[in-house]
């Protein structure tokens, strides 16, 4: 690649011409037509892009079918191969978002989703980074549990088997984080402990979990877990998957936290020891607050990866967002329009992950500025 460079504003030795006087042409020349190779690449890309955009506009907007009367998909079939059938989205979005949750009660998962988003948003704000955040999480998560299960007056009970869609994805990810994070902290401390038995247990746990795909852990949760339980103990499938996800998250988060612990200079430990603090006080008050602050950007990245990974529960048949999407298009009338549904779901996942990755970028920049 001859065009690689690290900055875009290199002073050129070329004499100033009329092109350089006008800011627009100057910009074009500096950034798109700075050399012959660059110009060729620009022209090729413009041609390619134009072709792609034109065909996408044709398929996605111009020739697309936006609504159909009832379940009659003849308009979509007529446009097959030419245009998209977006009509599948208004028809199926309730099922995709909330699964088989009772139709007239679906405001509850919707509200739960909003609460989740509010919780994430609050956790991102620096002013909430205090001890009370743990309390906020506990209250919010119980509130979400109450909303989803119901059982209180005015809220009929809805069993877990009927939960589905976006709330399940958020539950798996959030509870995975809420329990996996403390687990990860303990394991990270254990891995750096001076006590050989504890250290080796933690190493085995982390390496074993990180060495195998999440799918095999989920299989374990769905097939092997019942084998390991005494007779009569039957744990719900969603909970079993949740346990697998927590164990998985714990191992990965432990490694991130360990990275933070390693960055703390020895002097901090020694100073805390000199103050007469115990091991736990030392970690709780001195080491962990610093270590975790160090690793917030990689923590957010781990959380993004983890949010995407929850979609694997599709394979053991738990109704998360991806599974409801896949189930929605089993309906024979809409079978042919899976691409549209996948694009819709991809946009939802993208929105969450993109927001988180922007946030992580923002934190990194702040960190560089020495905030």
């Amino acid at each position: 690649m001859a065009t690689a460079t690290q900055d875009t504003s290199r002073p050129t030795s070329r004499p100033r011409s009329a092109f350089d006087a006008n800011p627009v042409t100057h910009w074009l020349r500096a950034n798109l037509f700075s050399s012959i190779t660059s110009s060729i690449i620009t022209l090729l890309l413009i041609a390619l892009l134009a072709r792609m955009i034109i065909s996408f506009v044709h398929w996605g907007i111009w020739d697309a079918v936006w609504t159909v009367p009832g379940n009659d998909t003849s308009a979509c079939r007529a446009a097959r191969g030419l245009g998209a059938c977006w009509a599948v989205i208004p028809e199926k979005y309730r099922f995709i978002l909330f699964g088989t949750y009772p139709y007239d009660q679906q405001w509850r998962p919707a509200l739960a989703t909003l609460l989740f988003i509010a919780l994430f948003y609050a956790s991102c704000l620096r002013r909430f980074w205090r001890r009370e955040l743990v309390l906020i999480w506990a209250v919010m998560l119980s509130l979400i549990g109450l909303l989803m299960w119901g059982g209180a007056p005015g809220l009929p009970f809805v069993s877990q088997e009927r939960w589905g869609g976006l709330p399940v994805t958020l539950i798996l990810a959030t509870f995975g984080l809420a329990f996996g994070f403390p687990l990860g902290i303990f394991v990270a401390l254990g891995r750096r402990s001076k006590l050989p038995a504890i250290r080796s247990l933690c190493v085995v746990y982390v390496e074993l979990i990180r060495g195998v795909p999440l799918i095999s852990l989920l299989f374990m949760a769905s097939v092997m877990f019942p084998l390991f339980m005494p007779d009569g103990v039957n744990i719900d499938k969603l909970l079993r998957a949740q346990i697998a996800v927590v164990l998985y998250a714990g191992a990965y988060l432990a490694e991130v936290v360990r990275g933070g612990l390693q960055a703390i200079p020895r002097g901090q430990h020694e100073a805390a020891d000199a103050l007469g603090l115990s091991y736990w006080q030392n970690n709780r008050l001195i080491i962990l607050p610093q270590a975790i602050r160090h690793v917030i950007p990689p923590l957010v990245n781990t959380f993004i990866a983890f949010f995407k990974d929850t979609s694997l529960v599709l394979i053991i048949g738990i109704f998360d967002l991806l599974t409801t999407a896949k189930t929605a298009i089993i309906d024979p009338a809409w079978q042919a329009y899976s691409v549209e549904v996948y694009i819709f779901v991809a946009l939802i996942y993208f929105a969450f992950c993109f927001a988180m990755s922007r946030y992580s970028r923002h934190l990194e920049l702040q960190g560089k500025r020495g905030a």
Binding site: T3, P213, P226, L322, S357
Partner: protein, 395 residues
């Protein structure tokens, strides 16, 4: 891992008191190990009880039994009459062939996109950024299902797309012309591989000489001789015939040629696009980690930009790139287990079928874990060796 301290404080003497650190440490360890052992023992006794209640005998004896499961897409000879062991080996080969080719392609595409992201061409760098951002933020399983649906939406075999003569793309997958391989061809390929190894060591030797006396030597003629001319000579002497079989449409399917099944193809595309987005970011940050002064100094010597990138910046960036790259390779290999969602029969899929047929849950999952731990270890070893190989040699 603890950093070694220059001077250890003298060890405290152990005394049987809770105020004594060493004694407390010992108690902690005993407690934690006891809990772990008790938990495992409890789970194990439940498992033994449940298995005997279901009349499942533990152990790997089932591996010798007839599998009776069809495996569609395989490189090894396999029929449903073969044993479970054979089925597992087929599964391992299927996992490896998607993982290895995926790693190679993802590295190439990821590196190109990562470099493009730093291009001075605004449009190119923006497009590379969009590529990375879009592919990184959508779950790989969703991408896999998406590509698979697109594959199934391709025209049937009769109306297959033919970009080049002899290449067919249809909902049966990709069919390309094949070359019959038997005795003679392997000699030729062997010679080419040998020639490449000799060429590589020769190249290193010549570079050492060049460093010593400063004279540039041509390297490529040796490459041409060893990798192309020598195998061609062997082929001519042995009289090896290179027959190319063109695939033909017979009825509803293709005869002859090599077929890449749609499942394999979809899995490969999904893994490569997803992983290459991460690799692009690693390459970009690796290049940016090389101090600007290196660019400026090299450009001041009058070197071309492409030469500076290849010979000066990338080798230094590699030291930053390799460790995170290793974990991406491991991720790709682990993600190849998503195959089970679209019915590509990799090791996880075959173990899952075995599990459903025989009920040998513990054994099947132990096998999956063993296979992946071995592959992970292998990749880590290779990458650590490579990392040590390129590490900065300081005086």
């Amino acid at each position: 891992m603890t950093t070694p301290t220059p001077k250890r404080p003298p060890r405290q003497r152990m005394s049987l008191s809770l105020r004594n650190d060493r004694f407390r440490g010992l108690l902690w360890q005993i407690a934690v190990v006891a809990i772990a052992v008790a938990l495992v023992a409890w789970l194990w006794s439940n498992a033994v009880h449940n298995l005997s209640a279901r009349r499942i005998s533990t152990g790997f004896a089932f591996l010798g039994r007839e599998a009776g499961m069809p495996i569609v897409d395989t490189w090894l000879a396999y029929s449903p009459k073969d044993t479970y062991l054979r089925a597992f080996i087929v599964g391992i080969v299927n996992t490896l062939r998607v993982a290895v080719i995926g790693i190679v392609l993802a590295t190439i595409i990821g590196t190109l996109v990562g470099i493009a992201r730093l291009s001075s061409n605004w449009l190119l760098s923006r497009l590379a950024a969009v590529y990375v951002e879009v592919l990184r933020d959508v779950p790989p399983l969703l991408q896999l299902l998406f590509w698979y649906v697109l594959m199934q939406g391709l025209p049937p075999a009769r109306g297959a797309w033919r970009p080049i003569d002899g290449v067919f793309l249809s909902n049966r997958g990709l069919v390309v012309p094949s070359i019959t391989l038997d005795g003679g061809q392997f000699w030729v390929i062997g010679t080419a591989v040998l020639g490449f190894i000799i060429f590589y060591s020769l190249r290193r030797r010549l570079i050492t000489l060049q460093i010593q006396d400063g004279r540039t030597r041509r390297i490529w003629p040796y490459g041409l001789l060893l990798v192309i001319a020598l195998p061609a000579l062997v082929s001519w002497v042995l009289g090896v015939s290179w027959t190319v079989t063109m695939p033909e449409l017979r009825g509803f399917n293709f005869v002859g040629g090599w077929t890449f099944a749609p499942e394999y193809f979809a899995l490969l595309i999904a893994l490569v696009t997803y992983t290459s987005a991460f690799i692009a970011e690693i390459v970009r940050s690796g290049i940016q980690a090389v101090p600007r002064g290196q660019w400026d100094a090299a450009l001041a010597l009058g070197l071309r930009r492409s030469f500076v990138l290849q010979k000066i910046v990338l080798p230094q960036a590699l030291r930053v790139i390799i460790p995170p790259m290793t974990s991406q390779y491991l991720n790709l290999t682990k993600n190849s287990s998503l195959a089970v969602a679209i019915g590509y029969q990799d090791i996880v899929s075959i173990a899952n079928t075995t599990l459903n047929q025989t009920g040998q849950a513990i054994e099947a999952i132990a096998l999956i874990m063993a296979v992946f731990l071995t592959i992970s270890l292998g990749i880590s070893l290779i990458m650590n060796w490579y990392n040590a190989h390129i590490a900065l040699v300081e005086r």
